[in-house]
Structures are given as C-alpha cells and as structure tokens.
C-alpha cells in the first residue's frame, strides 16, 4: 500500500537501504515447500525451526542484525536508524521472520540494560547469530494478567538456586537454550518485592518441557515444569528482588512500547491489507467479486485507515513535538493494543470476505490461500492475549498514561 519514505533520508542511509534491498532480493530464501509458521508463536517442527534459524544466521552474517548493539557484544554500534531500515526492508521483501525474537527483542535489550559485563559478553552475540534460542518464563497457570501473583520459587543453595514451579505459554521452549525466568526468592516480602529475574539454562536437570496445543490444533508453545532445577549464581540478572522492575522493562520491549532493537517487526504489515484486497479481488460472492461489494469496500477502507494511522503513529512517535507533551508514552504504550486488535479485525474480516470457503480448513486442497485466513484469525488471539491481554493494556494506558485510578 505504501512504501517507507526515502526522499528525506540522508545520502548514507539511502545508500545503505539500497544495499539491503539488493541483498534481500538476492538472498531471500525460496519457500521451502512445507508449511511455514505465521509467526514465532507457531514454530512446531524441527525443519521449520532449522529453516528459520538458518535464515536469521544468514542475515546476521551479512551484517544486518544487531546493528545498534555495541560491537563488543557482536553488534556494530550503528545508530538505531540503520536497524530500522533493515527491518523495513525485511518486511518489504516479504522475507521470513527472525526466529529468535524473544532473544532479539526482549531478552537481549533487557540484558543490555541490566546485565553484568560478563552476562553481556556471554549472551548477546549468540542471540544475534541464532546459536542460542531464548524463551520466556513469566506466566503461570494461576498468574496470567495478574503476573505478580506468580508462585514459582528459586531456593538458594550454596552455589546458586533450585527452581520449582510451573510456567505456561512458553513459546519456543522446546528449542530454547535459555529462558528469562521470574521466580520468587522471598516469600515474606511484598508481592512485587519478592520476585527476582534469572537467565535460566534450559538444559538443567529437573526441567520438563511439554507442548501445549493451540486452538488451531497446532503446537508452538509449551508448559515448563521445574522440579528442583538448579541454576548457578551467575543466572541472576540485576539485584535480588529487583525482578518485577526488570520484568516491566522486558514487557515494555515486548509490547513494542520501546522501539524494537536488534531487528524484527511487530505491527501487522501493510502487506496484510493488500493481501485482503487481493483476496477480495479473487473471491466471488453471489456471482460478483467481493471487491465490488460497497459494504466490503467500506469495511476494508476502515481497516486501511487504521493501519495507516498506526504506521504514521510509529513514525510520529519518534518526533517529540508531534506528541502530546503531557503524555509522551501514549503512542508507545498503545501500540500493542491497537495493532493486535487491528490484526484480529483484519483476519476476521478476511474470513467474512471468503464466504463459504472460510469453512475449509488446513489441509483441504481447495481451501483458498491454504486456509491461512481462518488460521491467522485464530492465531490473532495469541497476540490480543499474549504479552498482556488487551484488557491489561487498557488498564496500563488508563493508569500510566492518563492517570486514572487503578482498577484492582
């Protein structure tokens, strides 16, 4: 629908963009022939994973990942702007996503912010190169929206801690080498103060990873049971009892409130609107193309406007003077809420456009676009629920941005 601006870009950046674009054109892998996951929430099989890991590795080797991370940790020390150009061009090329998302966007920046020199040296480069995959151990069966009520414990031993507890929705846990883990280290302390933040080695004994089946019938995320699983002293990130504060920082990265670094993308790309337009131009409803139905056109334009508004908001968010001075966080904190609901509206609407063929499911040879639309609609709930539900997001915006009283 729209391309990123180039006209006012500096000469160097424009040149860099041209290079990236050329590289993408030459190196973007062909479709492997098997079903690819729609996002990192759905990596099921070994071959899917290996395909995606190889792609990220290739991007890194080409020098297009970690551009804004310091050189001593495997990055390049360039301005964030450069990494943003890569993300835009990845998007534009329709390239596969970067599979180590949790490492690149959540764990990595958190380690950069709170880690010791040793931790940064140890962890950051293998995140970029995709040698070591990361997962996240925050949620528990009884602690979802109310994350601070988590009960997993880390009991101190002579040389570290023993973890016991139960984490859920741990995307990528089945292939992860590391987990960012929240566990309670002080039962007596206040709900928030008793939590610490760890970099947990997934190959420790006493760890069981069990796949969970999503509403689509597919795998991709898991539950992890810890039974006295040991971790060394070096696993602690930040101070003991500082876990909640650090976790809030991670969630800020996760929700795209802070600008994604390292690479990767979070918003429903403009190409998804284009894809539904394209769909409407192929699908017949009662003898005419869906794209000719004024009501369908009107609905899709509504979504287009939202998408364009969201895109421009991302652009504007970086310009202090274009934001309300009394709520500088507004545009960043609303990002996850708006894009996740827009994605849900768009995919649901695509199913409406499909008409009766929306009833054909994965594996049916006649399903339009291989049933990607109903699948995407179902998967959209992973985004309106995961990383803090839309309800939690609205509370956060109401309370932190607008100063409304807490609802608790």
């Amino acid at each position: 629908m729209s391309t990123r601006p180039e006209e006012t870009e500096s000469k160097e950046n424009a040149e860099f963009r041209r290079d990236v674009r050329a590289w993408m054109a030459a190196n973007k892998p062909a479709h492997p022939g098997f079903k690819l996951p729609q996002s990192f929430l759905e990596v099921e099989s070994e071959r899917q994973f290996e395909f995606l890991r190889a792609w990220q590795r290739k991007v890194y080797d080409a020098g297009y990942l970690g551009l804004d991370w310091p050189a001593e940790y495997g990055g390049k020390g360039d301005p964030l702007k450069r990494q943003r150009i890569v993300s835009q061009e990845l998007n534009r090329a329709g390239a596969p996503f970067l599979v180590n998302v949790i490492g690149l966007q959540w764990a990595g920046p958190t380690i950069l912010a709170f880690g010791t020199e040793e931790q940064k040296k140890r962890h950051l480069q293998p995140i970029l190169s995709c040698e070591e995959i990361w997962c996240q151990g925050f949620s528990e069966p009884g602690a979802g929206s109310d994350l601070a009520s988590l009960t997993a414990t880390a009991e101190p031993t002579a040389d570290g801690w023993l973890v016991t507890g139960h984490k859920v929705w741990t995307t990528l846990a089945h292939v992860a080498k590391w987990m960012i883990l929240l566990a309670r280290t002080d039962q007596a302390a206040h709900k928030y103060a008793g939590i610490s933040y760890f970099l947990f080695p997934m190959d420790a004994p006493g760890v069981t990873v069990q796949p969970l089946v999503k509403m689509t019938g597919e795998g991709g995320f898991n539950q992890v049971i810890f039974d006295q699983a040991p971790m060394p002293k070096s696993a602690l990130l930040g101070q003991l009892g500082q876990g909640w504060q650090i976790a809030m920082t991670t969630l800020t990265f996760e929700r795209g409130a802070a600008e994604g670094t390292g690479g990767g993308q979070a918003t429903p790309s403009e190409s998804s609107i284009r894809a539904v337009v394209d769909l409407a131009q192929r699908v017949r409803r009662e003898g005419r193309f869906a794209a000719e139905d004024p009501v369908i056109r009107d609905r899709l334009v509504q979504l287009w406007i939202q998408e364009e508004g969201l895109r421009l908001t991302g652009q504007r968010a970086r310009v202090a003077g274009l934001n309300m001075d009394d709520r500088p966080l507004a545009t960043r904190l609303m990002n996850k809420l708006v894009y996740s609901e827009l994605g849900q509206n768009l995919t649901e609407f695509a199913c409406e456009v499909l008409g009766p063929d929306a009833a054909l499911w994965l594996g049916d040879p006649c399903a339009p676009d291989k049933a990607e639309w109903p699948r995407a609609y179902m998967n959209s709930f992973g985004v309106t629920i995961g990383g803090g539900t839309s309800e939690v997001q609205r509370n956060i915006i109401g309370e932190r941005v607008l100063g409304l009283p807490k609802t608790k």
Binding site: S139, G142, G144, S145, D146, S149, V168, W169, L212, V213, K214, M215, G217, V283, R284, R285, E286, G287, D293, V295, I296, Q344, E348, C351, E352, L354, G355, P356, D357, A358, A359, L360, W361, L362, G363, D364, C366, A367, A371, P374, M378, F381, G382, T384, I385, G386, T389, S390, E391, R394, N395, T407, K408
Partner: protein, 386 residues
C-alpha cells in the same frame, strides 16, 4: 426476495408465538437427552477423532423423531411446526450435535415443497425415519446460494438426464444415500434433481471442514446418468426459496444455541477464575462483554423464534424474519466466540478450552447460506422497497 415488498413489510408473528406446553416439553426432553448422551467430553472425543458422522448417535436421534420432525405425518414425519424445530435446533446447537442433520432436514424441505406425490412417497419416509441420509447441495465453487449461481448442467437423454457439475460444502455429502441438487437445463431453467447413491459417475471427496462436527464433502457429477423421474416435478424456484429461507431460520436457531453455550461457559469462567485476588467477573472489562453477549443472544433468540412462528403461520413476512435471524444470529455467534476466547485468556487460546469447538461452528454457520452482509443486502431491498 420472492415476496412482494408490500407484503414482506408486514412481519406478522402470531401473538405469543402460538407457544404451547408441548414446546416447553420438547426443549426439556431434548436438553435432558443431549446432556446425557453428548456431554462435552463425548463431543470432544468424536470431534478430535474426526468422526463428524456417528451412525449410532444418528440412529438414536432418528428414533427420537428429530429428522422427520417437520415432515407431514403422511410422509412419515411428526408433522410438527418450525417453532418446535427452532427449539430443537437451539438445543442441538448448544451441544454442537455432529452429523448431517441439516442436510437431511433441508432435503426434506426440498422434497416437500418441490416434488410430486410419488417422489415424496419414495424418499420422505426414509428421510423421516433416518434410514435414508439425504442432503441438499446448496453451493458450487464461487459460493453462490441463489439459483442464479447454478452452473451445473442437466441434459436430457433418452429416458432420463445426464448431470454434470461440482457441488461444494455438501453436508453429509460423502455419507448420503440421496442427494438433492439443482442443475441447469438447456432451456436455462434450473431444476432440482434427486440422485440416489452410490452412482459410479458421482464421486464425493470429504472436505477438511473447519468444524470437525460437520461432515461436508465436494461432489463431482461427471456425467451422472439418472432416470427421468429423478427431476423433482414441482416448482423448483419455490422449493429452492423454501430451502433457503428455512435453512436460514434453522442455522439461526442453531447459532443461538451455540452462542448460549459460549455465554454460559464464559460466565462460569468469570466466576471461577481469580486474578488480582478477585473473581475476574468483578471487572467490567469481563462483565460487560458477557452482558452484551447475552443481550445479543436474546434478540437473536427472539428473531429465530419469531421467524419460526411466522413460517408456521404462513406469514408473508417469514422470509424477511428468517433473513434477519440469520444475519443477526450469525454475527452474535461470531462475536460470542471471539469474546469467549478473549475472556478465557491464555487458556482460551488452547485446544483444552471448549470454546474453540464453538468458534469453529460459528465460523461455519456464518459462512453458510449467505452471511450477514449478504442477508442485509437482501433485507435492504425490502426496507427501502427496492
């Protein structure tokens, strides 16, 4: 729409819907039977095993007289009204009863409205008893539900017809002993044909349906040879319209039941689940969507039973009410499952949570027989008298 707009605007529904104790009894008994026979665990087993058509269950349902509920007694049916059926379907929708019920039901409608006595005598008793699984092929590739979309052809040959075409989303299409389907004759007129199976030139390919409780199939008529009397000898347009209108009313009633189940599930979860030391139903973020779900369902139930009562009364506004019911109930059901998943949080996103079975049914129900956008376009012509 087949009715004159001046008539269609009179949406008479009999006062008090002609409701009797008999209806209440039917609801009670249906609910009791399904609660016992098809608790969620049992439904899960069937759906997860891909058993969309369980012949044992079908036999029991048939013995209860459900399949022939609205067929006249002269055709082996119970001769009851559409208000009875709406209640039955609502209860079936609550339990996501799998199988080819709707297909048989609508094939029966087609025969009742569009066949001659001999044809009715030949097939209807079997349909009513459940011995003959029948179906109606409502759509072709391209997804039209109006006869204008019929591309399949019927060519007269010596002593009969040759049928060619491809029908999609046929409920029970791979299991039916009788398929009623529209084909276009050389004159351009569309007629309904009843084709008995097996037939060597008729192949059925099971579809992978989003709703594992719906045994749908694609049928290929590759020069299917049928006898002369396979063509239904009634007014095809009337029969087709009856199938569409009654199909809309039926899916609407079923959708009300499905949405009702989601409502109760969400309600129960909002009471049982605690976060922030409170039952989550305390939070208006959870409470209000549930309330709005209920209000939507109640209106949909009114429209569905109103349409049924209007059909029973032979009211000329019945088609309008049936389309309203389909439009509204489809949207209400789709919205209920969407909110239903969200209210259940991470659990709602898993296979373990029951909501996704209803989610799939809602997707199916919205898409079939014309979605809300389509129905409203038809209704606008009534409202604006053109």
């Amino acid at each position: 729409m087949s009715t004159k707009s001046s008539q269609a605007l009179r949406l008479e529904v009999p006062t008090d819907f002609g409701f009797t104790e008999e209806h209440a009894l039917l609801r009670q008994e249906t609910r009791r039977f399904l609660n016992e026979r098809l608790p969620m665990g049992e439904l899960r087993k069937l759906a997860d095993a891909g058993i969309a058509f369980d012949r044992g269950l079908w036999k029991e349902i048939a013995e209860l007289g459900w399949v022939g509920l609205v067929l006249p007694e002269s055709m082996g049916g119970a001769g009851l009204g559409w208000l009875h059926l709406a209640i039955l379907l609502e209860e079936m929708g609550r339990r996501l009863v799998p199988g080819p019920f709707l297909g048989s039901l609508l094939a029966g409608v087609a025969l009742r409205e569009g066949a001659n006595d001999a044809q009715q005598a030949r097939w209807c008793p079997g349909i009513a008893s459940g011995d003959l699984v029948a179906t109606i092929a409502l759509t072709e590739a391209g997804g039209a539900f109006e006869t204008s979309g019929v591309a399949g052809t019927a060519d007269p040959v010596d002593g009969g017809w040759v049928l060619r075409g491809r029908k999609t989303h046929v409920l029970g299409g791979a299991d039916a002993g009788l398929v009623v389907a529209p084909f276009r004759e050389p004159s351009g007129a569309v007629s309904l044909f009843a084709v008995e199976t097996p037939n060597a030139a008729l192949t059925a390919e099971r579809e992978t349906c989003i709703d594992a409780t719906r045994p749908t199939a694609r049928l290929s008529f590759d020069a299917v040879r049928v006898a002369r009397d396979a063509r239904l000898e009634g007014d095809a347009a009337t029969a087709w319209n009856a199938v569409l209108v009654r199909g809309c009313a039926a899916i609407a009633a079923e959708s009300v039941g499905g949405a009702e189940s989601v409502l109760l599930t969400a309600r129960d979860y909002a009471i049982a689940r605690k976060q922030f030391d409170r039952q989550i139903g305390f939070f208006q973020a959870i409470k209000y969507p549930i309330v709005d779900m209920m209000c939507g369902i109640e209106l949909a139930r009114s429209l569905a039973s109103g349409a049924a009562a209007a059909l029973d009364a032979g009211s000329p506004g019945a088609e309008t009410l049936a389309r309203m019911a389909k439009a509204h109930a489809s949207d209400v059901f789709a919205n209920a499952v969407r909110k239903g998943v969200q209210i259940h949080g991470g659990y709602g996103f898993t296979w373990d949570c029951d909501v996704h079975y209803f989610f799939r049914r809602a997707m199916w129900s919205r898409a079939m027989l014309g979605d809300a956008i389509h129905q409203r376009r038809k209704l606008a012509d009534v409202l604006f008298d053109r």
